[in-house]
Symmetry: none
Subunit: 186 residues, 4 copies
DNA sequence: AATGAATGAGACTTCATTCAT
DNA sequence: AATGAATGAAGTCTCATTCAT
């Protein structure tokens, strides 16, 4: 049923708009960085009028915060799916390797967005809540297969190896990743 | 008679000015991020007039690039000093732990600057040259004590553990760091 | 109640603002040249805030282009009016003389603006479109009284004589203009 | 003889420098317009240090004035050469046609520089001295073959036809030029 | 409810000129 | 005599946000 115009429910005529703005914000950040994520650019990417931005969000900070919240959630969900699909300790180790080689390293968008978030978190405690929650979910997923202490370390090695593979122009042997995971989970 | 620095007459010859601007740039980035590192703010932090910025540097990008080049060099030197001071395998492991606990984690400035650089490198190949060189020097220093493959992994665990300790609000047991280093170098 | 123009409340709706900026731009060019036609100066001449300039126009080039488009149109219209008012060949010749003596030569603003446009057109094909259209309209108006080849020549003599009278400090006999027109239309 | 260093004549160690700056200035204007003719750009084009500019010239205006003085002289000399080479009335007419078709129309550099000068002259009486002198010399050269009044008109038709050919994208029949010259000298 | 017009702040950069050397 | 370091003014443009409609 189409809500009658003028009724209280009439406001819902574009319920996805807020969502689209958040997605567009992530696209813009992936493309041009947090520094390039302006109202104008996000509005254009989302296909909404400029005035929509400050109507739906209190300010640019709110848009950013929600965008990174969504990003963290998406990453965590994929992480959990991968770990949940493991059937034994060995396949859990392989899942970890796959996360490093396929997810972070394989996807420039995720690489860039992760680092933009890390940078915000390094300065701003509010964003540290986001990274903390993200890490918490990763560890929980890992603890299905590893003891808590090891889960911590596995999560750290995922981050460290991913960054080194991404930000070092030297070619690295993929087999090394498996070895690192084997050692840290020994 | 040497004119007092800062006096009107002293202004004309200031051979360290370029250096001071680069240092000031790092201070501003540490304080306000790359996004906040404007000509105006850097000039003010360095105590030089705005026009000096574009006299000494072709553009803001050149300032940033030189600042991060200096930052990478400084970090690498401290890293090398720490590793060179080790006397045997065990003290080398302890040096690695100290790097994680004292250097990156212990110094908010370094934490923030590292992430700002990572973020630039994630997007821009030119900055990847910097991170590559930085990683190359770290590995070289580690290879005095560890085989090349292990050196790679140690470098990765340094990065990963540092980030996790910095960006996770949950308290972590410092002993865990030593354990992670022990495992990865087993 | 209509808010008084210029009042704080009146500012919000000012549908003529774009037009006023274009007119102000022509004034500034006439006064200070294309080189002096800056956002600041045009904004001040139009009585609008600086930020208005880039809100209404994509850049200073767009302001210039629209200003000269308007100028060309205005000149052409006056030209056409003069030629349309002629009643026979002789009065057409007199109209041409009047254009030279009264319009271009008689009006410093038009003289300056014409040359600024010529200079842009000499370098930039986009502005050549403007001068071409302007010449096309002049020729069309002349062809009501002269054959096409002669119309071409009349238009050229208008330009040439006007420039010579304007840029030569030597006094010239106005009768010479009539003679030149007579010869070229012989 | 090499002047002794320190002697009054020692200043002459680069006597062409001033000349080279003036030539470079014309090159820069031809390339980027009067608006683009800055100290820096001219110095670079001339291969002299920036400080040379204000050492040899009181200011940018002096550079411009001297550059256009030289330009006017060069153009006049070529004009005079062409007219002096004519042997009778008919070949004088042909020389005029050649000036239009080959010199102004055929050389984008001259076209651009002429218009830059006209534009300055339209606004500034000081530059009108230059254009006046230029026109005086042209007329003098023409008066070898034409009566003073006709010389005036010929000079005007040269200017007018040249501009129309240069600033109109429509193709024009070269024969028209000869016809215009024939009529105006009838 | 929703939006586009509007604006002041501030971004990077170029410039002519001054001045100590 | 000659020059490169230096600077304040001003250039174009982008931005987050406000507000009348």
């Amino acid at each position: 049923m189409t809500p009658e115009p003028g009724s209280r429910r009439g406001r819902r005529n574009d319920p996805d708009r807020r969502d689209r703005i958040i997605d567009a914000c992530l696209d813009v950040i992936a493309e041009s960085g947090v520094a390039g994520a302006s109202h104008r650019r996000i509005a254009e990417a989302a296909g909404v009028p400029l005035g929509s931005m400050t109507y739906h969000f209190a300010g640019i900070d709110e848009v950013l915060r929600e965008a990174f919240t969504r990003f963290g959630t998406e990453i965590s969900e994929r992480f959990e799916t991968r770990m949940a699909a493991a059937s034994d300790l060995e396949s859990a180790r392989e899942a970890v390797v796959a996360i490093i080689l396929s997810d972070v390293y394989g996807d420039p968008r995720e690489l860039v967005l992760s680092h933009e978030l890390y940078t915000l978190a390094a300065r701003d405690p509010a964003y540290r809540e986001l990274t903390s929650a993200w890490m918490r979910r990763s560890r929980d997923a890992l603890e299905k297969w590893f003891d808590p202490e090891t889960a911590h370390m596995v999560d750290a090695i995922i981050t460290g190896v991913s960054i080194h593979r991404a930000l070092d122009v030297t070619d690295r042997d993929p087999a090394e990743v498996a070895l690192a995971v084997a050692r840290i989970t020994a």
